[in-house]
Symmetry: C2
Subunit: 309 residues, 2 copies
Amino acid sequence: MGIVVVGTVAFDTVETPFGKGEDVLGGSATYFSTSASFFTDVSLVAVVGEDFPEEHVSFLRSREIDTDGLVRIPGKTFHWTGRYGYDLNEAQTLDTQLNVLMEFRPDLPPRYRETEVLFLANIDPELQLEVLDQVKSPKLVACDTMNFWISSKPAALKEVLRRVDIVIINEGEARQFTGEANLVKAARQIMALGCKRLVIKRGEYGVLMFAGDSIFAAPAYPLESVFDPTGAGDTFAGGFMGYLANTGDFTEDGMRQAIVFGSVMASFNVEDFSLDRLKSLTYPEIEERFRHFRALTRFQGLAADGQDV
Amino acid sequence: MGIVVVGTVAFDTVETPFGKGEDVLGGSATYFSTSASFFTDVSLVAVVGEDFPEEHVSFLRSREIDTDGLVRIPGKTFHWTGRYGYDLNEAQTLDTQLNVLMEFRPDLPPRYRETEVLFLANIDPELQLEVLDQVKSPKLVACDTMNFWISSKPAALKEVLRRVDIVIINEGEARQFTGEANLVKAARQIMALGCKRLVIKRGEYGVLMFAGDSIFAAPAYPLESVFDPTGAGDTFAGGFMGYLANTGDFTEDGMRQAIVFGSVMASFNVEDFSLDRLKSLTYPEIEERFRHFRALTRFQGLAADGQDV
């Protein structure tokens, strides 16, 4: 199965204690689609302005991403400026220039509407709903969101959460959304809105995935060098959804493997600025880190449980 | 093998958003030895004052803990007062009355000095060194410490770290001790001081264990009800070291299983105030949660790797 992603393509200006990237390629859909492209065919829906260089579009095409849904309109491309401190856990947003994003109304090319897998990256939940209305009969839909929409458009956001299969959200946002400090309780409350599966991203602490009574905990891959966390969440989602679209295995086991592939992709992305590490990444490296991930988390069962190692 | 623990026995006054415990049983050695007693024979070295009730000593004996090393001297028992906010991650210390702890000079009963496994709970590193001088030829020694000693007695602490096999430390303390924000780098720096194995506790995010080039990541067990995190770290250490003393298996596999048993014990302890949950706990419950822990973390390997599931 291929996958359609709707989100942002942007310029980022990012400062971390290890360096600065000015007007570099960014945006939720950019990270997502590049990451997912290692696993499956990706079609991208987003908007850019007249200032968006052809070189970036060429890069996306080099990853065999279908860019027919990437529209260019008069004005400037969305621009985010942020800074990270030494702990690298939370970005401080210094400036947000929405620019062409303010006029974005996603209009999916006809063949995109047939997609079986859809990812609604972090954009206005009202736009996410418009996209949901355009796709015909997707087998798997996931969405991301952020604190800004939780406070400004809670009703539309709740409607999105009701209509998707998987919600991907940050730990802090899960707590903010529910007003509940205990994460297990917060997860139950979000799932009570209608989604069957909830993935909570915890930055350097990894991921928790909730479905029914099942919980899966995956650590983040411990790295000695983290240069730029920008896009880690979208890169994670791209690996997760891309792997699912590739296998078509939406069982609990399949979902868990996909979580680990997502975590692997995110761990590469933070090793360099912008999408630089993803640009040089190869599939054998991904599989090698997946195996390291298993070595990182494995432990033996109880002797009484037999060959349960 | 049995285990000897040196640390504090205390009264705690603890307030959390869910209730308050006044002058309840606490202390690093109390939590450690109670937790370890589910796995092995424990001998306790600590000091209490004249106000320490016989009922608490009886409880420790009911767990078959050897209390011959628990000395009673004139004065009042060590008393800690703290408070937790809704996130329950960090205690705010409101008051510390060292009392009899100020005169504590550990003097191990002769048979304690033969111990094969030793745990130095969080006390003055100079006292930890005195204890190390008294034990004859231990096979496994671990220590805990805290930020207070990192800033006040760094030289003695470094000497302790050089002489033990396993160092157990909080994430924030590892960062403070090294002045390094990246946890993998901080771990390498601490291990360069001489210890072969380092366990970093991350509260609700679980544990990272470093040894040579190996890293093991264990999540914390996700709980819907956390009432009182007091003693979680010592309860973790008690399960970890108690299980190791029981099996005598100090291989990487054995250490990983022990980390999970420690995490299981900590997850029970936070479910109620003081040691109340440990008082009602049974071994079948421990094994059941260990199995849940495996269900929480398991994922399948790559198909190409064969039966690597």
